[in-house]
Amino acid sequence: MVEASKPAREEILGRVRRALAGVEPGYAVPPSPRIAPVSDVVAHFAERVADYRAVVERCSAADLAAGVAAALPAGARVVVPAGLTVPVPGADEDAGFTAAELDGYDAVVTEARVGIAETGTIVLDHGPGQGRRAISLVPDRHVCIVRADQVVPDVPDALPLLDPRRPHTWISGPSATSDIELDRVEGVHGPRTLHVLLVD
């Protein structure tokens, strides 16, 4: 089937070239505008994340372990990625669980790569402390740790910090749908609860 696509490739590229005959290939893209600076980017981030009906709590590094424990319901089965810097007593470290095995967990605790204040977005690049994409997807509760120094003002500040070779998951609030009469319902397939711990 790969062989069969060879003539298709040549034909499509040929048609593209013919379609653009005489068109100047260079095009100066105008720079995208930057938003006006906000005085407290971290507070702005907290507000914007909470706007999506996510739970946002600020805490000190010393209180983080207690904050994580408090964000997990009593008796919850918890999965954590390798490299998580906060101890989560009783949690299982991801050992390459299958999707069905992950479905047996109630919650996941991860760190993040970047927080984007203007849009209230958390970006995971699935490195150490964040884990494979599946572990922060299948369990119903995602406790996500974001450090204040990871928060940037807007999307154009976040992109240069991200390595495009890695997979990314941009998370802006819990899973949601408005497909039924445009009534917003939180939680369809992704975690229905997003609990963000913002560490000062």
Partner: protein, 480 residues
């Protein structure tokens, strides 16, 4: 399996039928009004802090820069995807793309796949093609699930089941879910939260066992071989992450040159589409990541008429479209007829130009009627985040329809008369119909005879502007 649009009547007849459906018109007016208000609030918010217009210019510029050098960027994309461990396929048309996907699925010996909502796989009729090969393609977006279980057609790009109300959705779930897998609970209510929970349970068993996932892509970055999918529910993450094999069908116009080019587009799309600062989930992946997600990744690059559109000097800009649906939500014709009347997966103002551009005019009355499904009021251009001048393309397409019929069947007057006139008034209002006929013919004469050369020129204004007419007649004034 969902129904298809094949054999739809031309826009005027279909619009006339749709106008009689009170439920549809009520749902559409509510939906488009709600999304319009949300979008406007966020556009104003952004405008207060920087400039929406500059952001639009940047977004349009990114897409334009990709299109004017499309061959180079496509070759680069193939190179980077391949270097990242993905397999790249090329497909000239729907049949080729469907055959590639079916062959991959069969090679893994499975008879079902899970799908992320994707316009392009609807465009090529992938579900039907897979069904013919004995492969079930499960739609996993809530609205698409409603459409699929109801053996129905999508009616809006963003909210495809907007023509259904909660009571109808409950009925569909109770009657149809069992045949497709896990049944809906017998005590299912019509609360949206309960309906969403039923969909969650129904689909979860499919996600957990799926071997092959199928997606489209919102953007494909040439420089880095990165695909991007923007979504809300998490069904996209499920399909992109859990299966062992991932096949993404990507129109060749989805390419953007650099990773940084995503900046303006990711800021424009959710605000224009759902009226959110950012959609709940955006996934990016660059081929295969060892130990994380699908370990076999395919990308099918699809033409299917896009090079026709690219060759059209005026129409080329339609390939900038990022499928946000803002133009649908501001369109007075769409609001009154709904998506089905356009007879295509691409409805509304963008559909009225994209379908004739992809398929060519002069072969099919249904396609030829679409450029007339507009009053040229210009609201779509104002709303479009990538500044597609839809009214100018409509006028140019009308001229091409006229040219195609020259010396042949004298159909153009009929099309011009019936297009927007049916949708906006009622064919019984002959006085108004005549006004539209006159306008259509003036445009046809002017542009059919001379070559339309500049994309920047605006179409000639009708004697009475659409907005003025709308106000004077209270929007056509008919209940339905």
């Amino acid at each position: 399996m969902s129904a298809t649009f094949v054999g739809m009547p031309a826009f005027p007849a279909a619009a006339h039928a749709a106008l009689g459906n009170a439920q549809l018109r009520h749902n559409l007016a509510h939906a488009t009004g709600t999304i319009r208000a949300k979008r406007q609030r966020l556009v104003d918010e952004l405008d207060a802090s920087c400039s929406w217009e500059e952001l639009r210019l940047a977004g349009a510029g990114v897409k334009e820069s990709a299109l004017v050098d499309l061959g180079t960027h496509l070759e680069r994309l193939e190179e980077t995807l391949t270097a990242n461990g993905a397999t790249v396929h090329w497909a000239r048309d729907a049949a080729e793309a469907n055959a590639v996907v079916a062959a991959i699925v069969k090679a893994h010996g499975v008879d079902e796949v899970v799908k992320v909502k994707s316009m392009v796989t609807q465009e090529i009729g992938l579900n039907e093609a897979l069904a013919a090969e004995g492969i079930a393609a499960w739609e996993t977006d809530l609205a698409e699930l409603i459409v699929q279980l109801g053996d129905d057609l999508p009616s809006h790009i963003l909210v495809p089941a907007i023509h259904r109300n909660r009571a109808e959705i409950r009925e569909i779930f109770l009657e149809r879910m069992a045949a497709a897998g896990r049944p809906a609970p017998a005590d299912l209510t019509d609360e949206p939260a309960a309906l969403a929970a039923a969909a969650r349970e129904h689909l979860r068993e499919k996600f957990l066992r799926a071997k092959v996932g199928i997606s489209g892509a919102n953007f494909a970055v040439a420089e880095t071989g990165t695909l991007v999918v923007v979504e809300s529910e998490g069904n996209g993450r499920m399909c992109l992450t859990l299966p062992e094999v991932l096949v993404s069908v990507v129109g060749i116009e989805k390419v953007v040159p650099t990773f940084h080019d995503l900046d303006s587009l990711l800021r424009l799309l959710p605000r224009s589409s759902t009226g959110e600062r950012m959609n709940p989930y955006t996934s990016t992946w660059s081929g295969v990541t060892p130990g994380d997600g699908p370990q076999e990744v395919h990308v099918v690059l699809l033409d299917n008429g896009r090079t026709n559109a690219l060759a059209d000097e005026v129409g080329r800009q339609a390939l900038r479209c990022i499928r946000c649906s803002a133009c649908l939500n501001v369109c007075p014709v769409y609001e009154r007829t709904g998506g089905h009347a356009y007879g295509s997966v691409y409805p509304g103002p963008i559909g009225a130009i994209l379908n004739p551009l992809l398929k060519g005019v002069g072969h099919d009355d249904q396609v030829d009627s679409l450029p007339y499904a507009s009053s040229l009021c210009g609201a779509c251009f104002e709303a479009c985040p990538v500044r597609i001048d839809i009214p100018s393309v409509l006028v140019d397409q009308r001229a091409k329809v006229v040219d195609a019929h020259r010396g042949g069947r004298p159909k153009v007057e009929a099309l011009a008369f019936k297009g927007a006139a049916v949708a906006l008034s009622d064919s019984r209002r002959l006085g108004l119909g005549e006004r539209f006929t006159g306008l259509g013919l003036r445009i046809g004469r002017r542009f059919g005879a001379s070559k339309w050369t500049s994309a920047r020129d605006l179409p000639p204004a009708p004697r009475e502007s659409f907005r003025a007419w709308w106000r004077r007649t209270e929007g056509g004034g008919h209940g339905g």
